[in-house]
């Protein structure tokens, strides 16, 4: 496709990722609230309040972002100003770039070039670094603690994600996300064929999105807000936008690598309905993740590292061996 089409599809993919990320974050809030026997943000506002509070609050995280972008920004005078401002901007850049690499259904802007999986994992690796940087240059001990905890946790959760993703690349025989997606339509989805790698990547994603057993860097009661303590106003709005995009990219990665990118037995990849099945599968995965998020307390950092190495990295290694075993048992998988 030529350059203009590429740019248009990339823009549409980024906006769709942002909207999907908003809906996923709304779903996390709603499910956690419902499991605690209260209602979450309203899906349908009761009639007497519709005039002052709107009709539906399904885009509640988007309202949060717009409100934050219209507020005054207070930058502490002893912080390093340029690094402070450019940390969330750099994360935004990486996430916008990575959201053009994730295909949604049949629309894929940049996901069909060789080694797109490597590029995506590399870009996603830069996001925790910006959190650590932003926390460390805000002249506040809470930011430094938060950055340190994020550094520790990052070592833990990146391992299962990377090993699990490369396992699917081995099973599909290519490093391009589009090829992996297409290879699953020819055989079974890799969620069924290699559940170990799927479980490892899912557990890694729960850590990456800072959901509850692992929301250690943003611990509320212990360190005031972690790396985001000194941020306010427009920069905090940027951090929230990053959170939406990160949610969408990570869930999209899981769907494309393990669930055939939205292609179910009735809907093939060339159909536009794959966008809807993509969204539905994303909602199911987010429901599982938010169930874990609601029912767990927060781990200590050493418990989190321990757990990741003993359970998740082990599962990823088992998945890798299983991929090689499958190559002998089920040779229809290319390899």
């Amino acid at each position: 496709m030529n350059l203009i089409e590429l740019i248009i599809q990339a823009t549409l993919l980024t906006s769709a990722s942002f909207i999907f990320g908003t809906i996923y974050n709304y779903e996390i809030r709603k499910i956690s609230a419902r499991l605690q026997s209260r209602r979450g943000p309203w899906l349908l506002v009761p009639k007497p309040l519709r005039k002052s509070l709107g009709t539906t609050r399904i885009l509640q995280p988007l309202y949060d972002i717009i409100k934050l972008l219209c507020k005054e920004t207070i930058i502490p005078p002893t912080a390093r100003r340029r690094l402070f401002i450019s940390a969330p901007l750099f994360a935004l850049l990486c996430l916008v770039a990575s959201s053009t690499i994730i295909p949604i259904g049949e629309y894929s802007a940049l996901s069909s070039f060789d080694l797109s999986l490597v590029a995506l994992l590399y870009l996603l690796l830069a996001v925790p670094f910006t959190l650590i940087l932003g926390g460390s240059v805000s002249s506040s001990p809470w930011g430094i603690f938060g950055g340190q905890r994020e550094a520790d946790l990052m070592l833990a959760y990146e391992t299962p994600i990377v090993i699990g993703s490369f396992t699917t690349a081995i099973m599909a025989g290519s490093m391009s996300i589009k090829e992996i997606q297409v290879a699953q339509t020819l055989s079974l989805p890799y969620l069924v064929l290699n559940p170990f790698a799927a479980a490892a990547v899912l557990l890694g994603i729960i850590g990456k999105l800072h959901l509850k057993p692992f929301d250690i860097p943003e611990a509320e009661v212990e360190i005031v807000a972690g790396p985001a303590t000194e941020y306010s106003g427009k920069l905090l709005g940027l951090m929230e936008i990053n959170k939406m995009l990160l949610t969408s990219v990570c869930i999209g990665l899981f769907i494309n690598l393990f669930m055939a990118g939205g292609a179910v037995p009735g809907v093939t990849l060339n159909n536009s309905l794959t966008v809807l099945t993509y969204l539905a599968e994303g909602l199911i995965i987010v429901a599982v993740a938010s169930l874990i998020h609601t029912l767990n307390p927060r781990f200590r950092i050493d418990q989190a590292l321990d757990w990741y190495i003993k359970t998740a990295a082990l599962l990823a290694a088992v998945g890798l061996c299983w991929a090689y075993i499958l190559r002998h048992i089920y040779p229809a998988i290319s390899g």
Partner: protein, 191 residues
């Protein structure tokens, strides 16, 4: 562990299908007490018939929210709801049951309007002293005291009490002191 997990799953399902949230801002009637028989101490209400203006509520108020001010021939009892802690001591000590705490809880206001709606007022008339003309006690208080004494005193003393009260309840304290020889109520005259 299996039965624990099954119970957890059942409870989670029940919680998510039946939230206990009261539909408060949409339906104001949901702001009712939790159990039917509970008394909520809210905004005060002076009973116009019963309150005599004695000021007993001011003496026991825990936070000094009640103020009794005399001006001319009128006594104004004012309760400042922004200082009141709704303890109910004023209601408990009122001898005539003239002060009640209704279940209407005062609600939020913008800060500038705080003095206009956050008070409860009641005024009674004061009677003036026949001798010097200064205001003495509320008329209703004097009437109530007279009726109580007459109805509770034994038959031997009622007539003399009535005669005495007719004379000196019209005077203020200072005039009573200076005119006590004339009224025949000075203690030294009795022996």
């Amino acid at each position: 562990m299996k039965t624990g997990l099954a119970r957890l799953a059942k409870e989670l399902l029940r919680n998510s299908l039946r939230p206990v949230t009261a539909n408060y801002p949409a339906i104001p009637e949901h702001a009712r007490p939790h159990e039917p028989g509970e008394e909520i101490r809210g905004r005060h209400r002076f009973d116009v018939e019963k309150c005599v203006g004695c000021g007993a509520c001011q003496t026991v108020c825990s936070s000094g929210a009640i103020s009794v001010t005399d001006s001319g021939i009128e006594r104004v009892l004012r309760i400042d709801l922004s200082t009141c802690i709704f303890c109910g001591r004023c209601r408990d000590i009122c001898p005539e049951e003239g002060l009640q705490l209704t279940p209407e809880v005062p609600s939020a206001q913008p800060y500038g309007d705080i003095l206009k709606t956050f008070k409860v007022e009641h005024s009674v008339d004061l009677s003036s002293c026949v001798g010097c003309g200064r205001p003495t006690y509320p008329k209703k208080q004097i009437e109530t005291v007279r009726m109580r004494i007459i109805s509770n005193l034994d038959k031997v003393n009622v007539d003399s009490a009535r005669r005495d009260m007719d004379i000196y309840l019209k005077y203020c304290l200072n005039c009573r002191r200076s005119l006590s020889y004339i009224f025949g109520t000075h203690p030294r005259k009795l022996y």
